[in-house]
């Protein structure tokens, strides 16, 4: 029983998407603040939640809330140092057969709002709905190796796979994609819901949501499991990391996580009563250059853009030199990392390529989320491209707008700067750069048959190291095509008030109930 030895987690896991190198700030009861706040854990987050349906989630805040409010079979432990999967709402998991994952839920886990008990039917509904073409779940690719979930009892069932995919469990089911929703509640909402979760379980439940102002979670009286030290969790939407830092030093926030750019100055000039440390993430940041856009169709133009940009300078400006230039989607130390393949800047070559392509007076647009860090990076890219005669129009957007994409926007994608939440399994980011995902998550409009063949090969390769080799080739292809300029895997700075022990994952992401008051 228990966790099969085969899937001992590598450092980190999370589904692709929105994680932005922004301040995610978590607050705890303000030390020295009025007594009312003593039981509150206040957290500044980059934005309001948008979609709390696991099928559509997009932003970091969506992810936080889905991870903290919905049950899952297993999840990463809030260990803070090591990525470790532990059982969550499942009593046991048997993975001895790679084609059939057998699970048993803990009895007595109640859905808030009178939707009864968490059952195997909910699991079946939650996972299989991603395969429903009408739902157009953005997680459909992740669940593509799922055959069905067979319910064998009130609490028991078998997750049947189409092929021996080693990655469905390790990277999807234990993270955001594995969120289980209440079948009864979802059906009542016609299967579609947005910023209001249908029914939740767990130590906290939604108390109030004032968009643009705050979102408050309170203790769930029906919860019998492990619970946190704080009565309320308050999420404050503060999009900019510097604003969050200011709020922290003004005593308004007591836990925050943001880009490492200010690490030196923070260390030198720490806010009162704070503890500061750095965490490593495997969240890849890259510049996407959309191959299908008429201005960028010529591969020489895209390669020229790659060569014109000064990545080390961007890193120095945005993360104070604490991050290393990335060579791909996969972070250092994981299978598939391309050691020593950092792209070198070559302005002359870039000019040459542009001249060959006859691209004079090119004017392109760069989309990015409006944070200080991205703005800084974008302005450097703008200056770099100006050197080779490309005019860059900066289009800073709010996080919600940036991540929402429709047909019109997909057709008008030019260049964008973004980070995805990393995953130790390279597959889970790499699987999105296929033809079917153009206009969905493949904003780069990258398409290559050989790449898709390699992807299928990786899916059924059981050996992690062998998969890693395939990933290296795939990332090389992405880079050569000129559609991807890999920038970094960002480190983050965590700042928290003294007198508390933050409950965080190894990359500093908060697990609400694991925050403890220090004795």
């Amino acid at each position: 029983m228990l966790l099969h030895s085969d899937f001992r987690p590598k450092p980190l896991s999370f589904v692709r998407s929105a994680l932005f190198g922004v301040a995610l700030t978590v607050g705890a009861a303000a030390a020295g603040a009025p007594a009312v706040a003593a039981e509150q854990l206040r957290m500044a987050v980059p934005s309001d939640p948008g979609y709390l349906d696991p099928a559509y989630w997009g932003s970091t805040v969506d992810q936080f809330l889905i991870d903290n409010l919905y049950p899952r079979l297993a999840k990463y432990a809030p260990d803070g140092k090591e990525w470790k999967v532990e059982l969550a709402d499942a009593k046991s998991i048997d993975m001895s057969d790679p084609m059939n994952i057998v699970f048993e839920l803990k009895p007595g886990i109640m859905w808030a709002g009178g939707y009864g008990e968490l059952t195997a039917e909910d699991v079946k509904y939650s996972f299989e709905r991603h395969l429903d073409p009408d739902l157009e779940s953005s997680l459909a690719p992740e669940f593509s190796s799922l055959e069905e979930v067979e319910v064998t009892g009130k609490y028991t069932g078998i997750i049947r796979l189409k092929e021996p995919s080693a990655t469905l469990w390790a990277s999807t089911l234990v993270s955001t994609g594995g969120a289980i929703i209440s079948k009864a509640a979802a059906e009542e909402a016609d299967g579609y819901f947005e910023a209001t979760p249908v029914a939740t379980t767990g130590p906290y439940r939604l108390k109030e949501f004032e968009p643009g102002n705050k979102l408050v979670l309170e203790r769930n009286p029906d919860w019998t499991g492990e619970t946190g030290d704080f009565d309320e969790i308050v999420l404050l939407p503060i999009g900019d990391e510097n604003a969050a830092e200011l709020a922290f030093s003004a005593g308004e926030i007591d836990f925050m996580r943001h880009s490492a750019g200010n690490f030196d100055t923070l260390k030198a000039n720490p806010p009162a009563d704070s503890e500061i440390f750095m965490v490593q993430s495997i969240d890849p940041i890259w510049l996407g250059i959309t191959a299908s856009h008429e201005k960028l169709q010529d591969q020489r133009v895209r390669n020229a853009i790659q060569l014109a940009i000064d990545v080390p300078t961007i890193l120095q400006a945005t993360s104070g030199g604490y991050s290393k230039q990335a060579t791909g989607i996969v972070a250092e130390g994981l299978p598939g990392y391309r050691a020593g393949k950092e792209l070198k800047r070559d302005v002359d070559k870039a000019r040459e390529l542009l001249a060959e392509a006859g691209a004079d007076g090119l004017n392109v647009r760069l989309d990015y989320v409006n944070t200080t860090e991205r703005n800084t990076a974008a302005q450097i890219i703008q200056a770099n491209l100006a050197e080779v005669g490309i005019t860059l129009d900066l289009n800073a957007q709010d996080e919600g707008t940036f991540w929402n994409i429709d047909e019109a926007k997909a057709a008008d994608m030019q260049m964008h700067l973004k980070a995805w939440t990393g995953n130790p399994e390279g597959f889970y980011t790499l699987q999105y750069f296929v033809g079917d995902q153009i206009g969905v998550w493949n904003w780069e409009a990258y398409q290559d048959d050989e790449y898709e063949r390699l992807l299928e090969e990786a899916r059924v390769t059981q050996d992690a190291a062998a998969r890693g080799e395939i990933y290296e080739t795939m990332q090389q292809m992405l880079e050569d095509s000129g559609t991807f300029l890999f920038i970094a895997q960002d480190p983050y700075v965590v700042v928290h008030r003294k007198g508390m022990v933050p409950g965080i994952l190894p990359d500093g992401r908060p697990v609400f109930h694991a925050f403890k008051k220090a004795e």
């Binding site: 009312v36 706040a37 926007k409």
Partner: protein, 315 residues
Amino acid sequence: MFAYVVRRIGLGFLVLILAISSLYILVQAAPGDPASAMLGPRATPAIKEAFRERLGLDQPLPVQIVKYLWSVAQGDLGTDLKSKQPVWNTLAIHLPRTIELLAAAIVIAAGFGIPLGCMAAVRRNSAFDRIVGVLSVSIIAVPAVVIAIYGMLIFSAGLGWLPAIGAGEDGGILSILHHLILPAIAVGIGWVGYLARLVRASMIEVLSANYIRNARAFGLKERWIIYRYALRIAVAPTVTVLGIGVGIMLGSAVFAEIVFARPGIGKLMYDAVILRNYPVTLGAVLAATLILIVSTTLSDILNAIIDPRFKESGE
């Protein structure tokens, strides 16, 4: 007179309707589909269609405008696309924060501006008068955003005396007042100078008026004359100006709300515009207009109370 009032009010309504309609057109003309923007990345075409139908976005623009005006007339501002609550509920969270900010700003402006102007008028052409004169012109010239940022730089980030973000609405009245200080100064301080000049000018006029001369001739104490009679009359134009000035203060409030991450109409509007949450955008502009109307009316009433001459001429 009655006909004039009716005509004036009618014109006001017409302007309001035109203002709402033109804003509706502008907001709807924005590129991008509110359905996609609000429903998120993977909403199916059917869901988007249902959304458009529900909001009446599939109808011709004039029909949409008439429908919107009609529902506004019935007190329905539509649904906040984000929270799925009536726009009224969203406004109910933010509007009081802006109103308290404006009220605090007015208290600061009047509390400092009127005494300064009064003293300057009494000591006309003294050094004090000249200093107030230069200062008042100077303070008017400093943009609210600059004052807000300096307030934050010095008192929040630097000294840590005053809060940097929020409105402190969870911490009771003291917390709310504490959070109000810096934003209210940012919005109100420019008006200190303005009011001082205004009060000074009208005070000088009043002090030279016949009945004040008469009062002096009757041997009333100078101090009594100034504070009991002259000031009351001299303050009247201040009230009118503040009533109209609320429109400008609303603009300053936007900066104060953004710099101090304070909930309020300005911040609400800023967020709503970015997210294409147009029922909220329209609702917020409506609310701002409403604040303007209410404040001008209030200033007229106050004027009548303060300055008896005003009442007489009104009768």
